[in-house]
């Protein structure tokens, strides 16, 4: 696995790659810029990158203000919203210049790749959406878990508490993965982002209202317009924050105008299917990528 940095519209952007050749597949992680409770990043896909890299170039990028990618530039308020995250991702794909790409997005990253497919289908070969209560219609349930967390955000204790709810088998996460996230959260730029988004900050003023409006817009678009590429929806049966019923609803929504959408559900996994059940996750994904050009 290789770590690379490139400049994307003035932001130092970090991505991981494994494998070479073929039509590249790009993985987009979840989480929210300036969220003190999780350090989501390209590292989340370490296991999957190795599997996917066996027969093609597999890429995972740190979204704007997350992982080791820079925070938005001074004066760029939109950079702190999901719209800004999509804009940065599209700019990253263009800068890389290897399109069209197979896009795979998890959770909030599922929104990024879905929006990219709507706005810039020319950059997209296929779309995969995993456990995303940001894209699926209905109510997310993350808050119900976070509100019960008695530990200060960003501590190991808080992460262990969350993992107990987010994972079907919490022991999966205990092996070194907390440390990766804690190291990310220790960076000064992440602390600055948390400060910017935190109490009285951009999260309540800009991020959440913007996301609300953009989701409504997305649902209306999908009611009337196709996602112009084949879609796979991958969902963990026991996801506590993006319940399986939301996945079924998303399938129904996309199915209206995209005949080539299918859904694959895997049992005994919480929110991070690609970490808890990497083998069936990758099997279903690989069938989708390899079958991208199938006729009947």
């Amino acid at each position: 696995m290789q770590e690379t940095w490139i400049d994307v519209d003035g932001l130092r952007t970090r991505f991981l790659t494994a494998g070479t050749g073929g039509r590249p597949v790009v993985f987009v992680h979840g989480g929210t810029i300036g969220d003190a409770s999780a350090g989501s990043s390209a590292n989340d896909f370490a296991t999957i990158l190795k599997l996917a890299g066996a027969n093609r170039e597999a890429i995972a990028v740190d979204r704007i203000g997350q992982g080791y990618t820079d925070n938005p530039l001074e004066g760029d308020d939109e950079g702190w919203t999901m719209r800004g995250s999509v804009r940065h991702f599209i700019a990253f794909l263009e800068k890389l210049g290897k399109g069209p790409y197979h896009l795979v997005g998890h959770s909030r990253g599922g929104y990024v790749v879905t929006r990219t497919t709507l706005e810039r289908p020319d950059l997209v070969e296929s779309l995969t959406i995993g456990d995303s209560n940001t894209v699926a219609p209905g109510g997310a349930r993350n808050e119900a878990i976070h509100i019960r967390n008695p530990h200060p955000p960003g501590t190991r204790e808080a992460m262990e508490f969350s993992a107990k709810f987010y994972y079907f088998d919490p022991s999966i996460k205990s092996d070194g993965k907390f440390e990766t996230e804690l190291a990310i959260l220790q960076q000064p730029k992440i602390k600055a982002a948390i400060e910017r988004m935190g109490e009285g900050g951009l999260r309540a003023r800009l991020f959440l209202p913007g996301l609300l409006a953009d989701r409504e817009d997305l649902f209306m678009r999908l009611e009337h317009q196709p996602l112009a590429r084949r879609v796979l929806i991958l969902w963990a049966y026991n996801d506590p924050t993006a319940p399986i019923t939301m996945g079924y609803e998303l399938l129904r929504l996309i199915s209206r105008h995209q005949p080539r959408v299918s859904m694959h559900v895997v049992n005994q996994s919480g929110h991070s299917l690609y970490r808890e059940r990497p083998a069936p996750f990758f099997r279903a994904l690989n069938d989708h990528l390899e079958g991208c050009y199938d006729g009947n």
């Binding site: 049966y237 995209q258 859904m263 083998a279």
Partner: protein
């Protein structure tokens, strides 16, 4: 007796305990058994191994595909006595056929009633089954299908070409999925004296309800108890068409609720623009899904 009008390789006829049995046995490698739906003596629909035609070639390029006309259906003979029009006799016939073919533990892919028989074999003979692919497994799901509404008034004459076309067209998402070759097979089966005898036998003495349905509901309850108490004994993939006019997708969701608590390796695959026969409307995607699933579960007990 055996007809190989289909693009499935040469049909073989086996004598299985005195029952002439049509079998297709193509390709080499991992044994994958295809079990069609339906039941003996259905006066409306015709089901036989030919239903799998669009996927046999793709599967047989990589694995050993075995498609069997089940007892009292297709070009296989009827049960030896009226009392044997039961799911138990049908399942026993599949097991005997595989034994006769010299197959070891297999992956069973069943469609609706064929999925029921597959699950029944897995429960009764766990040593014979490596994994299950349950396609439109409505007969296995609690709750009812919509057949009695959708297929309430078939065009007459029943099981003529026109009527059979109507039955298939109203089962699929797109009528374009219904090709002439599929109908050729159905019409040929419907015309056999064997099938007419099965229809007559099932209708006499209310045998369909008193014998077949009785055996089916009793076994279904027993299988549900197994699912609930210890789970199905092998990895299980459920496959469904989102637009199924006969077996609503809600039944797939219901089946998942039953299967998931006790069988870790349970998965569900739903295809859009697919009705009751997802493998006919998305043959390539279906073949890929089955192939990768059986490869992952061919003897490995430790899949992550």
């Amino acid at each position: 007796m055996a007809t190989d009008v289909l693009d499935m390789g040469a049909a073989r006829t086996l004598d299985v305990g005195g029952i002439e049995t049509r079998v297709f046995d193509e390709g080499e490698g991992i044994p994958v058994v295809l079990l069609h739906g339906g039941y003996p003596g259905d006066p409306v629909e015709i089901q036989s191994a030919g239903v799998w035609e669009p996927v046999v070639r793709e599967l047989a390029a990589h694995v050993n595909v075995i498609a069997i006309d089940r007892l009292g259906q297709g070009f296989t003979g009827n049960p030896s006595s009226p009392a044997d029009y039961t799911v138990d006799a049908i399942a026993a016939h599949v097991v005997e056929t595989l034994k006769k073919l010299g197959k070891g533990p297999c992956h069973l892919v069943g469609h609706d009633e064929g999925a029921f028989i597959a699950a029944q074999i897995a429960v009764d003979h766990p040593d014979l089954v490596r994994s299950l692919v349950l396609v439109t497994a409505n007969a296995l799901t609690p709750g009812s299908d919509r057949r009695s509404v959708v297929h309430a008034h078939p065009p007459r004459p029943m099981q003529g070409r026109h009527s059979l076309r109507w039955v298939l067209e109203t089962s699929c998402h797109s009528r374009l999925a219904v090709c002439e070759r599929w109908l050729d097979e159905a019409v040929a089966v419907a015309a056999t004296p064997r099938h007419r005898e099965a229809v007559a036998t099932m209708q006499a003495d209310d045998r369909y309800l008193r014998t077949y349905v009785k055996s089916w509901t009793a076994r279904r309850s027993a299988i549900h108890r197994v699912m609930y108490e210890k789970g199905l004994p092998c990895p299980t993939l459920v496959v469904w068409g989102l637009n199924d006019p006969l077996a609503p997708i809600a039944n797939a969701e219901y089946l998942m609720e039953l299967l998931t608590p006790k069988q870790r390796d349970t998965e569900l695959r739903i295809y859009n623009s697919a009705g009751y026969y997802p493998f006919r409307e998305h043959p390539s995607a279906f073949s890929r899904t089955v192939l990768s699933f059986v490869r992952d579960h061919n003897g490995r007990k430790d899949v992550v």
